[in-house]
């Protein structure tokens, strides 16, 4: 069944693009077929390697967006499906290739899953607070999906900060989780432009956002913060100032020019 692979040397695997879905004008979800995929935990990532005809290589890390096993049950059978959501960076080298060039049937190389710190395990009993900025929501989405799929009971809250509605990833799926997954709450924070009729004006996340929409420190929640470096630092500072135990706050920083 979906057991983790035995320890051993981590190697590159061929991955074939099976399906691609646009999330926003600049972000795309890629579904890869990876033979013998050993399964993964929500929050883990893969390294992606591209090789040009002259041998030039570029390598980047991308968070896994999907839960495991995929689609809510059953043995993986004929091989694993792994979903990544990639945000295009216009001056990037790898992300524009993944969002604009790669077609169904094309192959790239994947290595993983890797990362054992920024992960949520179902055996963790505490409430969970997820704080995502921009495409930092991707690994958090894997946690939300995983919880929904296994009908886990730990209460989850997701604070998702995004520039505008047009930048929202998983725009149709997130409300479904709110509706179908008991104990899952979502708060959307718009930083540039809020939709018409939205109760609060656009602003960056602040103490009030996290105080109102997070868990009180007394609940000793496990906290996961992911986003651009400044977002992560701001959110982590607020959480600590509110009295959350730094040891329960896990962070992942994105950014740069890939």
């Amino acid at each position: 069944m979906a057991r983790a692979a035995l320890p051993g040397r981590l190697t590159w695997r061929a991955a074939t693009l099976a399906e691609a879905r646009p999330e926003t004008p600049t972000a795309r979800t890629l579904v890869f077929d990876v033979p013998d995929w050993p399964g993964h935990l929500p929050g883990q990532h893969v390294d992606v390697r591209l090789t040009a005809p002259d041998g030039y290589r570029a390598q980047r890390s991308y968070s896994i967006a999907s839960a495991w096993p995929p689609g809510g049950g059953g043995p993986p059978g004929g091989g694993g499906k792994v979903e990544l959501t990639v945000q295009r960076l216009d001056d990037g080298e790898v992300s524009p290739y993944l969002t604009d060039v790669l077609e169904v049937g094309d192959q790239i190389e994947l290595r993983g899953p890797v990362g054992g710190w920024f992960v949520w395990r179902e055996t963790q009993q505490n409430p969970v607070l997820l704080v995502g900025g921009g495409s930092g929501v991707v690994p958090l989405m894997a946690m939300v999906r995983s919880r929904g799929q296994s009908r886990a009971k730990q209460p989850f809250r997701l604070i998702y900060s995004v520039r505008s509605q047009g930048d929202l990833l998983y725009r149709e799926e997130l409300p479904r989780h709110v509706r179908d997954d008991p104990g899952f709450d979502l708060f959307l924070n718009y930083t540039r432009q809020a939709p018409d009729g939205w109760p609060s004006p656009p602003k960056r996340i602040d103490v009030a956002t996290i105080n109102t929409h997070g868990w009180p420190p007394d609940f000793t929640p496990d906290v996961y913060v992911c986003g651009p470096t400044t977002f992560v630092e701001t959110a982590a500072d607020i959480l600590v100032a509110l009295g959350h135990d730094p040891k329960r706050i896990r962070t992942e920083r994105f950014g740069g020019t890939s």
Binding site: A14, L50, T51, A52, P53, D54, G55, Y56, R57, A58, E93, Y97, V101, L102, D106, Q107, I108, E109
Partner: protein, 199 residues
């Protein structure tokens, strides 16, 4: 075994004759950083040469910029495989800075604000082969590129040309600096492709 990614070119790479082995031509000026970029106010800047016996010679920014300078043009070769041709600089030759320094040492350690170090044999700094540069392309050197002043030893891989330079320590024995301790070559001749230890 490797899978070629259809339609993937990567950053534009131009292979031209006359470059050191394995190098590509670039027209921009990539910025590589192993740590935060230090911002050094000029009134707190100084450059200090320390001999093996501990004798120190220092220059403040006004003293340093009052020294005779050279305008020069040179090719630079980064170990990450880009080369940039005909870059133009203004700087003070190490021959000028070391003219009155008495030493019997064969090696030096270049020190920078922020803690970066790199080792260079003394003879590679002399006879018009190295400068402390403070202008690039006619402009003050940007902090991202090593300003206020950086070492320039263009006949070696560019990591030897330490950014944010603030000192030179004479050493009797060769010792590894920051990248050398992390696995890069002790000398770093691009024409011999001395990238990593043991190359």
């Amino acid at each position: 075994m490797a899978i070629i990614s259809r339609g993937f070119g990567g950053r534009r790479r131009e292979s031209v004759p006359g470059l050191p082995p394995g190098q590509y031509l670039t027209h921009d000026f990539p910025v590589l950083s192993a740590g935060p970029t230090p911002r050094i106010p000029l009134d707190r800047w100084s450059f200090t040469v320390t001999t093996e016996s501990g004798e120190k010679t220092s220059w403040t920014w006004p003293e340093f910029t009052a020294l005779p300078y050279e305008d020069f043009s040179t090719d630079i070769h980064c170990v990450t495989k880009w080369s940039k041709l005909g870059t133009t600089w203004r700087g003070v030759s190490l021959d000028t800075l070391l003219a009155d320094v008495e030493t019997a040492a064969d090696y030096t350690m270049v020190h920078s604000f922020g803690g970066y170090t790199t080792n260079v044999p003394l003879e590679d700094l002399l006879d018009g082969k190295a400068w402390i540069a403070y202008k690039f392309d006619g402009e003050d050197l940007e902090p991202e590129h090593g300003g206020p002043a950086r070492m320039l030893v263009p006949h070696l891989y560019f990591w030897k040309s330490a950014k944010w330079v603030n000192g030179l320590q004479m050493m009797q024995e060769d010792e590894p600096g920051f990248w050398e301790a992390a696995g890069y070559h002790m000398y770093g001749d691009p024409w011999l492709e001395q990238r990593y230890q043991g190359d």
